[in-house]
Symmetry: C2
Amino acid sequence: MTTEAPLAFRPLYQQVKERLLNRLIDGTWPPGMWLPSEHQLAQEMNVSQGTIRKALDALTAEHLLVRAQGRGTFVAEAEDRRILFRFLRLTADDDSRQFPESSVASLRQRASDAGQRGKLKLDKGDRVWLIERTRELAGRPVVFEQICLPVALFPGLDQIEPIPNNVYALYASRFGLTVGRVTEKLKAILASETDVAELRCDVGTPLLQIDRIAYSLRGTPVEWRISRCLTDEFHYLSEL
Amino acid sequence: MTTEAPLAFRPLYQQVKERLLNRLIDGTWPPGMWLPSEHQLAQEMNVSQGTIRKALDALTAEHLLVRAQGRGTFVAEAEDRRILFRFLRLTADDDSRQFPESSVASLRQRASDAGQRGKLKLDKGDRVWLIERTRELAGRPVVFEQICLPVALFPGLDQIEPIPNNVYALYASRFGLTVGRVTEKLKAILASETDVAELRCDVGTPLLQIDRIAYSLRGTPVEWRISRCLTDEFHYLSEL
DNA sequence: CAGTGGTCTAGACCACATA
DNA sequence: ATGTGGTCTAGACCACTGG
């Protein structure tokens, strides 16, 4: 007589969802591509249309797919308005939503320090890219941020000129990495000397600091970003 | 011959969802109550079990219901751990989640000013309650907040002694108002004289200010709250 | 054991987009 | 007219809970 293992039960639609997700991860279905119809997928995977639907709906809820009645299902693109503002919570106080202009101040490669290795789950000896840039809203510098990326995931990044405004679209199109999830930790801090120069504010100005880690579809961290934001005329919007 | 109106199409499961939601709003099914089984509801409303399920699942996704396989479906309670931390995004930097202790400094009634009427959609002449309190995390004052409530929605609030730590549970149990949604606008500010006294910090300390409006199940604003938080050892967590 | 929610199927029909 | 996703149904079976 053996002790019964708890034996995990995995619903069929979850297995289907995983198989579909793998095709997104490995680039079989790149951003923008139209998927086969529900009927075709159901036939191909030998499950009912309802089961396919449940998997597609789940991926749609995670913003990885977009569905349109009468047209079909396609892979979400980082250029979409919906995606653009999903991770950009900073808004003018009058709620006029606009996408910020960016200007890169520097891009260089460095050996990773302990903090970066902890945030990005790197090993000793791994190298990182460091990007510094300021972002303008309403013609005014509002955000100064430092972006840290593993060189292993972004080879030859320094040969891309210029670094575009929307870096997540770049990650997807040039490096096959789709950002699927982000966690942000917010604090209030005082402007440092560097901040003062970049944001043209006074020493001691309170700034909103956003400490963000972005995860790929595989669930691995791909970007660590620290943003310092002027919030005299802007705010960070959170809906719960 | 008449011109055809565009005629909005409303799926059956949405109508069912609305009927169920109304029973939550009017108190037919108060927090904690067990609902009839899917089979019973389907019979009662003359729709299939699948349609009932879709409506129940939607309400569950909005955290208004809780479902448990083998046991049934019941109305979510504001005392639940899940609900407690849903609206409490402030966490210690070491991620040890704990619920803050609160001490009410004052509770008074006032005529509403223009700002309060705008936030809470009140009319001229409507009165409001004003609560001031500080909240402690890890035995240390961390949040100082002002809560503004329409007197019309919370009659006799000043006779409740003491005002409990979890006010949303109080709103539900004593005034039949369930908070279903919240929007928060975050800024970085400098500590004022009042903040300094309440939070035992220095003048000029940067604080995270949270401007929150809470909405009832009906979608009407029921609470306006401004919280000022020390973020030297704490942060606001946002997951996107 | 009976009763609950959770999964899965098969098929019909509806709303919508495109050609 | 055709093909897509969206809705709705009816029924079978599975997993879980509690008496």
